[in-house]
């Protein structure tokens, strides 16, 4: 499946792009993170500590165990610091 993957804040800076199209068979967010981390070191570094990583599928915050079935947009970012 093709996913539109977005990155924000220091995740974006470490990966080096704000968004990209990813071709993947990952079943869950965790599997997608594993797959990208195995591909290139910049992903491995950005995703090394999942406790400081957050994720949204189609603009909704979800846990890393969430299935990617029906997902079209996935975003990775640090904990929010608005306000």
């Amino acid at each position: 499946m093709k996913l539109n993957v977005l990155y924000f804040a220091w995740v974006r800076e470490r990966i080096g792009v704000a968004s990209e199209t990813v071709e993947t068979d990952a079943g869950s967010i965790n599997e997608l993170l594993d797959e990208l981390s195995a591909r290139e070191e910049r992903y491995a570094i950005a995703f090394s500590d999942r406790s400081v990583l957050r994720c949204a599928i189609d603009q909704t915050l979800v846990p890393f165990e969430t299935s990617l079935a029906n997902a079209t947009e996935v975003a990775f970012f640090p904990p929010m610091t608005g306000g």
Binding site: P78, P79, T81
Partner: protein, 148 residues
């Protein structure tokens, strides 16, 4: 009830005045976030990034939760993005109610959720470096008090 994400500054007094036109409104509470340099570390500006397609629906959902929980007759969230200088306004929430406790509680609730669930990120710019602001553990603790 409305949310705005914008680069422009806002006028807190004007927003509060609009809310006062409802004859049932006796109490309006506002929170304004300001670019600060608490540690005297030479902060020059604050960069605010957001996830555009997610942010308005996240704020509207937070606002709806507050309106379900308290007797609000008005609710406004404005959050700026882009580069803001020291002392500039970052964001505001305002809540209007017949009762002061509802207005206070709803404003605190909105701020706690907005801090931890609205997709904004802050980067502090100094003379020769810049760092992303870390989320604070106390912000997550503040959120938990609403979940019983």
């Amino acid at each position: 009830m409305s949310v705005n994400v914008q680069t422009d500054d806002f006028d807190l007094g004007a927003e509060v005045s609009k809310m006062a036109s409802d004859p049932s409104v006796g109490a309006i509470v506002s929170f304004t976030g300001i670019v600060r340099d608490a540690a005297h570390s030479g902060l020059i500006s604050l960069e605010l990034e957001c996830y555009p397609s997610m942010v308005e629906q996240a704020l509207q959902s937070i606002e709806k939760n507050a309106c379900d929980r308290w007797d609000l007759r008005g609710c406004k969230i404005i959050h700026r993005i882009g580069n803001l200088k020291l002392g500039e306004q970052i964001m505001m929430v305002a809540t209007a109610s017949p009762h002061r406790q509802d207005a206070f509680d709803a404003a605190e609730f909105l701020m706690d959720y907005l801090k931890s669930e609205a997709p904004f990120w802050k980067k502090e710019h100094f003379k020769d470096h810049a760092t992303w602001v870390d989320a604070r553990e106390t912000d997550l603790q503040s959120l938990q008090r609403w979940q019983d």
